[in-house]
């Protein structure tokens, strides 16, 4: 439901990071989204094209890596990965777990960019070959 706001935040954040790479074009944006992040990946993808249009991210691919929930099990004294989000019990010993260690991530892991001089070069080559990029 709030995926459009999420994509708008991604656009702002990446645009800010691009200031260090003047003229660069974004090829791909890689996200890490926790299983408990309240974000529906399909909705993100649906909003992606619309929300990036007319921004420096236009045409960029979106790659989403889902991060599973990891809890600390006090009984086993170790971190355990949950299969889903329907039961917060240790998959090894079945004890209830309340200490969340991973699963709420909502972050931009990395971006793949093509830098300015490279764009000029490849544009020049394309022109020579008469190929429209």
């Amino acid at each position: 439901m709030h995926e459009l706001s999420i994509v708008a935040s991604i656009v702002d954040s990446v645009t800010e990071s691009l200031e260090s790479y003047p003229g660069a074009r974004v090829e791909e944006v890689r996200l890490r989204v926790g299983a408990l992040a309240s974000v529906v990946v399909e909705s993100l993808e649906f909003c992606w094209g619309i929300a990036t249009d007319g921004t420096p991210l236009a045409g960029a691919r979106l790659l989403v890596k889902t991060v599973p929930v990891v809890m600390h099990c006090a009984a086993c004294d170790g971190d355990v990965e949950l299969d889903g989000v329907q039961s917060f019990r240790c998959p090894r010993c079945n004890a209830p777990c309340s200490d969340l260690r991973q699963g709420r991530e909502l972050e931009i892991e990395a971006i793949e960019i093509e830098e300015a001089d490279q764009i000029e070069e490849s544009t020049a080559v394309s022109k020579q070959n008469g190929v429209r990029r």
Binding site: S13, Q86, I113
Partner: protein
């Protein structure tokens, strides 16, 4: 053609998280306990809050409320009848409150100083999905569930219930005609958030309010004593 990978490792909601952290330290410095109430539309957040504000004010406790809604100020008017200062936040279609909205509405709130309050309640927009992503700097997040909604609500909305510090079951006065299975609801809440404090209440009859108010008192004292945020009481 060569490309370059730039590692960013940036939180998408970093701006909200930073603002919320700022709010949290302001609340702490002012000594006000802030609670964020979240539920579906129609659970009875406003009725529960009305009752809470009234009961606390009767004891001479200083309370105020910020109330989020898509459009109307009906809830703010209802809550203001308790005599407590209440301010409406209209989100105009946005499905959740964020830290910036809270910051902005605290700023221009005539006659209300955080340091002059014991409790500040934030009634979020009725929605069980989006509010869970937005930290408002609250110390306690309360998830509410009514007996008319079905016992499996916590399983359907695990992200919200898992991020809550306390759960309130509302409308217990009509539990029986609704065929509400109380044990199953409590079991499901515990599956998603083991050890969470659960209050079974009725805003109409006042059932369960005493325990709820006692909990608020405990949490306020914990804040004064600078204890860390309330841990879920884990029963193994």
């Amino acid at each position: 053609m060569t490309t370059r990978i730039v590692e960013l490792r940036k939180g998408i909601l970093k701006k909200n998280d930073e603002l919320a952290a700022g709010l949290r330290s302001r609340y702490g410095a002012a000594g006000v306990l802030v609670l964020n109430l979240v539920s579906s539309p129609g659970t009875g957040k406003t009725a529960f809050l009305e009752r809470t504000l009234r009961d606390l004010r009767t004891k001479g406790i200083r309370v105020a409320a910020l109330v989020g809604d898509l459009e109307t100020d009906n809830d703010a008017r209802r809550l203001a009848a308790s005599g407590a200062p209440v301010r409406q936040i209209n989100t105009h279609g946005i499905c959740h409150l964020d830290a910036e909205m809270i910051d902005r509405h605290l700023a221009g709130w005539e006659g209300v100083e955080l340091a002059g309050l014991d409790y500040l309640f934030i009634e979020n927009v009725g929605n069980l999905v989006c509010p869970s992503s937005y930290d408002l700097g609250e110390r306690i997040r309360v998830a509410l569930l009514s007996v008319t909604e079905g016992e499996d609500k916590p399983l359907k909305y695990p992200t919200l219930f898992n991020s809550a510090d306390a759960a309130v079951i509302t409308k217990m006065d009509i539990a029986e005609p609704c065929g509400f299975d109380r044990d199953l609801a409590v079991h499901n809440i515990n599956e998603i958030r083991p050890g969470i404090r659960i209050f079974e209440t009725s805003s109409k009859t006042g059932a369960g309010m005493e325990e709820w108010l006692a909990y608020l008192g405990e949490q306020r004292r914990a804040l004064e004593n600078n204890d860390s945020a309330p841990p879920a009481e884990l029963v193994l």
